[in-house]
Point group: C2
């Protein structure tokens, strides 16, 4: 065991791999818009806030990197800013190492095969959940985590426990469920953020930076009015529809299987993120910014686009539980239901949140 | 481009992947015997020769790691020795990082999926050819390269050039060819070792160690009398056989395709390795040892075993040039020819060479 690991086992959440027509790689344009929107913000923080220490090696990690190309764009933005920072303070030459981090079951072969040939850094991969320790103490200078922290480490136990008040019967997601379910998801999010920040506090050098970009809901907006959640809720209703209407066709999917399937995603709010950072206490908040409407998840997308996008993110999880044969039928229905609900969706809320943290001196 | 890279492009040489019945993973028992034989040797060198510097991070790389499980055994042996060394000198706690290195097209997903759960180190992957720079200056404490350095970075140009004296007509390997071919392979080996040692000299900290284990031939033994080479030569004769006898069956394999296919492997000798290290000048030789007969590549193997073993190593290369459909036919013939030649093979020579180097102070 690596030093300082926490004890729970993280849920693996692989994006659809490189060979699928619904691969995350070719269906992550929305995340790319978000990456672009954060470029200037990250640049300003690096120039103004990064404290460069002695030593010839500078380590950057992109946590939850998935399989590109977004990770390469994020990393390029950060590396360029860091190089300008070095020039501006006439520091001696540093070697930049970039550690691409994700779960062991991420499609690293696809990632490596598409590494940019003109990169100015040494490329490594670091295996493990970002809710756990991945790096030695004080070894990392900049952490980036873009669109990763809405994935929980696991579905909260009680949500899948028939005897619990928080049993999420007939649902696969929390946002439109009873308050006990929402509360369990919220508690799990708090625990996970505590692990993330505690582990990063150990790994990041004093003066080093952590960038977080995450889908979010405006403070006080109920979970059920958030576009991301409405998209997932519709997916959940498709499961129930399939079970009830098409049981003869599919045969082996029982209602109970849907009851014990839940998507481990939670949409946070600015206030929840700030509270988590303050509870942890190791980081100062250098910037917290709500990204513009251009990053809305359904901006300019057809129902079909939106459905394919959701498929790219959830396919692995669904396949693990129900096998592959359900996928086409499910997402056909999902697309159709999205079309019906499109006006509702547009009236929903969605923001992306950019946060820049700096590791305080010990 | 990373700093200090050399300019040529290395030939990718992937082992058969995790899903193949001929996968390297399930057919690398011979290499495992070699790994076991080196355990005590590495342990002694670590305890007696490793110079531990200040700093809390200790980095080990296994170069040309392939996809396990041998790499995990090697790494475990080294990590255990390093931990004992730390205890013996009462050094303060160090975090051990292990960087598994191989080409981008190595099956890293299989590697990561089988990482030992009880490991005491942080596991990373570092992408790139070991004939090139992979790590920042003075960042690595121990390099291990087990059964990797007999793979050349490329087939020498002239060997595939119809107008050259070294044109390797009718052959796919160098050992039983004319002296001009052998000379080109030997020159390429010298160049490659120069690159390997030059890059490692930049990356390894002063007092750090490099372990090399490599199949070899006794000094003065001709290339044609070495078992590894005899196995490859028989494979080459099978290609020719297929072209000549079975052209109707296979259709599209022409003699010229065989003429322009060559296996980029060279079997070195103790004296050649020593010369390369002395020419480089950055390392002292702490140990150079010929491993016992137990590591002979055909010891205890049937012809079928030996053929499957050769297939696991060469399948990727052959497939790249000729496609998959030739493989079964080729190795059926190979097994049969190995059986016929078994008495000859046993009379051949084969050693494994273990070398421990220490980076001199600058």
């Amino acid at each position: 065991m690596a030093h300082g690991r926490t004890n729970f086992s993280s849920h693996e959440f692989p994006m659809a791999s490189g060979v699928s027509p619904f691969s995350y790689r070719t269906n992550s344009g929305y995340q790319r818009r978000v990456v672009r929107a954060t470029k200037q913000l990250m640049h300003a923080v690096v120039m103004e806030k990064l404290e460069v220490e002695n030593g010839s090696i500078f380590q950057i990690t992109d946590m939850g990197c998935s399989i590109g190309p977004n990770t390469f764009i994020s990393v390029k933005n950060i590396v360029e800013s860091v190089e300008l920072k070095f020039q501006s303070i006439n520091t001696h030459k540093k070697h930049i190492q970039v550690l691409f981090n994700d779960h062991a079951y991420n499609d690293f072969n696809t990632l490596f095969a598409s590494l940019p040939s003109d990169k100015s850094y040494y490329a490594h991969a670091a295996i493990g959940s970002f809710y756990d320790r991945v790096f030695p103490d004080k070894s990392i200078h900049i952490v980036n985590c873009s669109y990763g922290l809405h994935f929980l480490s696991r579905v909260p136990n009680n949500v899948e426990n028939r005897k619990s008040l928080a049993w999420n019967k007939g649902k696969v997601y929390y946002s439109h469920s009873k308050k006990e379910v929402i509360s369990e998801y919220s508690k799990q999010y708090k625990k996970d953020m505590e692990c993330f920040l505690k582990c990063r506090a150990q790994e990041v050098v004093p003066g080093g930076l952590v960038f977080i970009t995450v889908p979010a809901r405006p403070n006080k907006t109920p979970h059920s009015k958030v576009i991301y959640n409405m998209l997932a809720e519709i997916l959940g209703s498709c499961f129930l529809h399939l079970v009830k209407q098409l049981r003869n066709l599919l045969g082996d999917i029982e209602e109970e299987e849907v009851d014990t399937f839940n998507i481990p995603v939670y949409i946070t709010s600015p206030i929840e993120v700030e509270e988590a950072i303050k509870r942890n206490g190791s980081f100062s908040i250098e910037k917290i910014e709500i990204l513009s409407k251009e990053t809305s998840p359904i901006n300019g997308l057809t129902a079909k686009d939106a459905s394919v996008h959701i498929r790219a993110i959830t396919e692995g999880l669904i396949e693990e539980k129900f096998g592959t044969k359900i996928l086409d039928k499910l997402f056909q229905l999902h697309e159709q239901k999205l079309e019906d609900a499109y006006l509702d969706l547009i009236s929903g809320e969605a923001i992306s949140l950019f946060i820049a943290l700096k590791r305080k001196p010990n």
